[in-house]
Subunit: 263 residues, 2 copies
DNA sequence: CAGTGGTCTAGACCACTCC
DNA sequence: GAGTGGTCTAGACCACTGG
């Protein structure tokens, strides 16, 4: 508890000369609140505070880091803006989680043209280990030929099959992942990744195209061959902007659409 | 200069009792910085400070509104986060504009699969007035049958036609808009809307689908009929979340993709 | 150099939650 | 009531821009 690795770069503040450090080279050089933010992020990444848990209060963190509450506040403000953390007035600040919260919307943008959001269920078709294809390896920043977990599934909304999806995950990070585990798990897949494998998806990039359904896909979605489909290629990142998932989804958009906000 | 319509709801701050007001009903009831933000937004909307211009400094606004600089700061922080305003250290705070700045990316997400961003040019096919179709009227929040400006155009990147787009704009807000004006104008269309018609697009929502090219579209894009295309339906909003543009684009995604960030 | 936004502090009080 | 995040102030100094 008492060992506080406070290596903050003292940025000429009226605070006392507690800067210390004196380690050979002067490291980075950024605002104090950015350094605090980085320290908090490290604690999140290391699992010191787990998803859903309460993190120390602003005053406690301020004492721990020997800075003012306002500085901690600004750090946490940014973490909250990046969805790493959730503030609740009167209760405290919590580590964000893929469970609970309405945050499914964040990673599934397909909405029904009319009516309420989906009643999704999940049909796992295939789970296997294979050597990473060159393209997948490049996106995951691993060596071509390294082990990856491959998953193929169909998602249905209100009983209608709407999405065919293939995923590739780094083998080393998802050792015990089996089809049974995926099938029996309730709730969003990212929730399983988070609690079972300690990997939280923070952000993702998507490339979207229009393509034509090939025969196997058409069969799975119960549609005609050559029906236009939305192709969504996603790369997801954890802490430290490390890519940990590649995904390719084919969305049937006859009665659904991909919803996006430009803001 | 001296007439300051300060109707701020005094929220029990250590500041002197300058709350005044005493007008019959107690109005809204929100944090001071939100009220400041609303006041600044009004000045932006009214054109008191025009796109690209410098707005008063934080200290001046603090004096004007009789609040501390920190409170003004928080208001402007949010406006900057919403892209209504741009901060430049050492220079001041400027009203955001569709000209200059790299902010084209914000409203055109189509990127080439390889190579640098586009070398776009613009082919206006049609500009005419018509009575708003029911669906367009609903989205623009006007009466069905009200006058709207209809525009159809093709956009080419590096000489290849890639986008066919139809737009509907409220007739009352775009009185003098002619094909000639659109054709001769250089730069992004939103820039013209901003400077010539005083309408700035703040945010937009998009619904994306995969569709099949019909014959006229196929001809314009020089592709085969039934080629899959990305359909992007956009509604854009100005200040006060007022819808002012409906747009339907068909994107050829053989060598381009719609880029999106989930964060 | 003066003026701007950017960082940091210290201390006050409010709104909310839970015991 | 004690503890949390949320708002607000006042004042200091820094980093950057321009004349």
């Amino acid at each position: 508890m008492s060992s506080i690795p406070s290596n903050l770069t003292s940025n000429a503040t009226p605070a006392a000369g507690a800067g210390a450090s004196a380690s050979g080279v002067s490291p980075t050089f950024s605002p104090l609140y950015q350094q605090i933010k980085a320290l908090i992020t490290q604690s999140l990444q290391s699992g010191e505070w787990k998803p859903g848990e309460l993190i120390p209060s602003e005053v406690e963190l301020a004492n721990r880091f020997k800075v003012s509450q306002g500085t901690v506040r600004k750090a946490i403000d940014e973490l909250a803006a990046e969805n790493l953390v959730v503030r609740r007035q009167g209760k405290g600040t919590f580590v964000a989680t893929h469970h609970e919260e309405r945050a499914q919307f964040r990673f599934l943008r397909l909405m029904p043209d009319a009516g309420d959001p989906h009643n999704a269920d999940n049909n796992i078709l295939e789970v296997k280990r294979l050597r990473a294809p060159a393209e997948v390896a490049r996106l995951l920043d691993i060596k071509s030929g390294d082990s990856v977990v491959f998953i193929k599934r169909v998602q249905s909304f209100d009983g209608e099959p709407i999405i065919v999806e293939e995923l590739w995950l780094p083998g080393v990070m998802f050792k015990g992942l089996t089809a049974e585990r995926l099938v029996e798990y309730k709730g969003p897949m990212y929730g399983l990744f988070e609690t079972e494998f300690g990997t939280r998806m923070i952000r993702a990039t998507e490339k979207i195209r229009a393509v034509s359904a090939d025969e196997p896909t058409a069969e799975l979605l119960k549609i005609a061959v050559h029906t236009p489909l939305l192709s969504v290629e996603r790369v997801s990142f954890t802490y430290g902007d490390k890519p940990v998932e590649v995904r390719r989804g084919l969305y049937l958009t006859d009665h659904h659409h991909y919803q996006n906000e430009l803001s």
